[in-house]
């Protein structure tokens, strides 16, 4: 099956098995093996990607569902200004995720910051998918809140002087 999609900003036409999980597509067809783990649906949470800007588990997305959609992996996301905001938030709170869950947590943080979610319950619920115990729940909430502040400041346009 031929599938047209955009992965990390590149428009591609891939010839794939139609039910192949996105996590395997990224590993085998795209050579993206940095942080993606094919856990056979055990929901380890480490294969998080952004599909049209929303965090999703790549092992749950079949190939036919990415047709015409925009997939962003951590490999390309780390170079964006949005990632710099998240890094600033990590620095500000003084907590960083461990190297294993850094990509997936960062993408989930991005999804939460983008939606502007500040409710601690919702934030913690979102992180239940990542089993790694490297980060305190309070720190995760603070990072999201700080990230939203940083993003707002960046997005505020300075008034133009005439």
């Amino acid at each position: 099956m031929k599938i047209d999609c955009t992965i990390d900003g590149k428009t591609l036409t891939l010839s794939l098995n139609s039910d192949k999980p996105l996590s395997l597509i990224l590993r085998e067809n795209m050579g993206e093996d940095s942080a993606l783990n094919h856990c056979s649906g055990r929901m380890c949470g480490l294969c998080t990607v952004l599909v049209d800007g929303k965090a999703m588990l790549a092992c749950m997305v079949p190939a036919f569902e990415i047709r015409g959609r925009n997939v962003t992996t951590f490999a390309s996301f780390r170079k964006t200004r949005n990632m710099k905001d998240i890094e600033k938030a990590y620095e500000s709170v003084g907590r960083y995720p461990c190297s294993e869950c850094f990509p997936s947590r960062s993408l989930i943080f991005e999804s939460l910051i983008d939606e502007g979610i500040t409710d601690p319950e919702e934030i913690l619920k979102e992180f239940t998918i990542v089993k790694c115990p490297c980060m305190d729940p309070d720190d995760a909430v603070n990072i999201v809140r700080r990230g939203i502040e940083i993003r707002r400041k960046r997005n505020v346009r300075r008034p133009q002087l005439t």
Binding site: N17, S18, D19, P21, S40, G41, R42, G45, I108, E126
Partner: protein, 300 residues
């Protein structure tokens, strides 16, 4: 890897009449809603048992609708669980919201759909049990005489003798109607992980109105993922006959009666499931006892 294996054909009908013609052409095809259950099976890819034809329901516009009036809410089968929370959190019954929230991260609930959670094959999620306690009904679409028919049925009538949701061959659930309820006792609990440890997990949903010390219209459903939903009017009537608070002896009798019924339906539930079921019953009764005791004696 596995690229040499035959790739399933994906059909993407954009409305129900296209769905009807597709299912008539490919009667043994697999219906694909959110895919959360199918994709989390270890044998999901490369699948040896997967049918060669898949009908993806995500493009059918009718299945994404959400309607609400004063008395009930109607969800299309492809409305996601996250969609239910965002559209009806303020008005929908507490037990339903609790059920969705226990499923976990929005990474899952954003993909899991109403129809998919009811109609999973060889597996029962906690959702049908909750819908049963809420007297929900579902619109079932099925093919008869080469035409697509629809029929509203209470979820209880979709349960077969084994406690599984049974949908007619070539049929699907297109809408689910949930009535708003003012029952003052609503309880949902899931112990263990349905997806990761289905052999040992159990869920229970309970709704009732506690009026002074008796329960009016109580409904309780236990769900064992690998067995099915255990629901009976007999258990409901046992609860109706009780006067709260219950003492330990009354509780033991109630527990025994419930287990007699559960074990007559599902003979081989695991010891851990049994213990967990017992714990859930204890929690429900404790909650009811507490509520019954907080009612002032004058109002009794």
């Amino acid at each position: 890897m596995y690229e040499g294996l035959s790739s399933p054909n994906i059909h993407t009908p954009s409305n129900l009449s296209e769905y009807a013609s597709t299912i008539l052409h490919y009667p043994s095809s697999t219906l694909w809603a959110g895919g959360t259950f199918i994709m989390t099976r270890p044998e999901a890819y490369p699948s040896r048992t997967m049918n060669a034809e898949i009908i993806y329901l995500g493009n059918i516009e009718e299945l994404h609708r959400f309607q609400r009036n004063d008395r009930s809410a109607e969800f299309g089968a492809m409305v996601t669980l996250d969609g239910i929370l965002s559209t009806g959190k303020a008005v929908l019954p507490r037990v339903l919201i609790d059920n969705i929230q226990t499923i976990g991260s929005r990474l899952i609930t954003r993909r899991a759909t109403v129809g998919g959670t009811i109609s999973t094959k060889d597996f029962t999620t906690s959702f049908p049990g909750t819908l049963i306690t809420l007297d929900a009904s579902a619109e079932v679409r099925f093919i008869r005489k080469r035409r697509l028919h629809s029929r509203w049925m209470p979820i209880t009538r979709l349960l077969d003798k084994a406690g599984r949701i049974a949908i007619p061959q070539q049929g699907m659930i297109s809408r689910v109607r949930i009535a708003f309820t003012d029952k003052n006792c609503q309880y949902f609990d899931e112990v263990g992980s349905f997806m990761l440890d289905p052999e040992n997990s159990v869920a229970a949903a309970f709704t009732a109105t506690l009026d002074q010390d008796i329960l009016i219209n109580p409904k309780i459903a236990f769900t064992y993922p690998t067995h099915g939903v255990c629901y009976s009017r007999d258990i409901d009537s046992i609860f109706s006959s009780l006067r709260f608070p219950l003492d330990d002896a009354e509780f033991s009798t109630l527990e025994q009666m419930i287990f007699t019924f559960v074990e007559s339906s599902f003979q081989d539930i695991s010891p851990l499931q049994r213990t967990r079921t017992s714990g859930i019953i204890r929690k429900i009764v404790d909650d009811l006892n507490e509520k019954a005791l907080t009612i002032s004696p004058e109002s009794r």
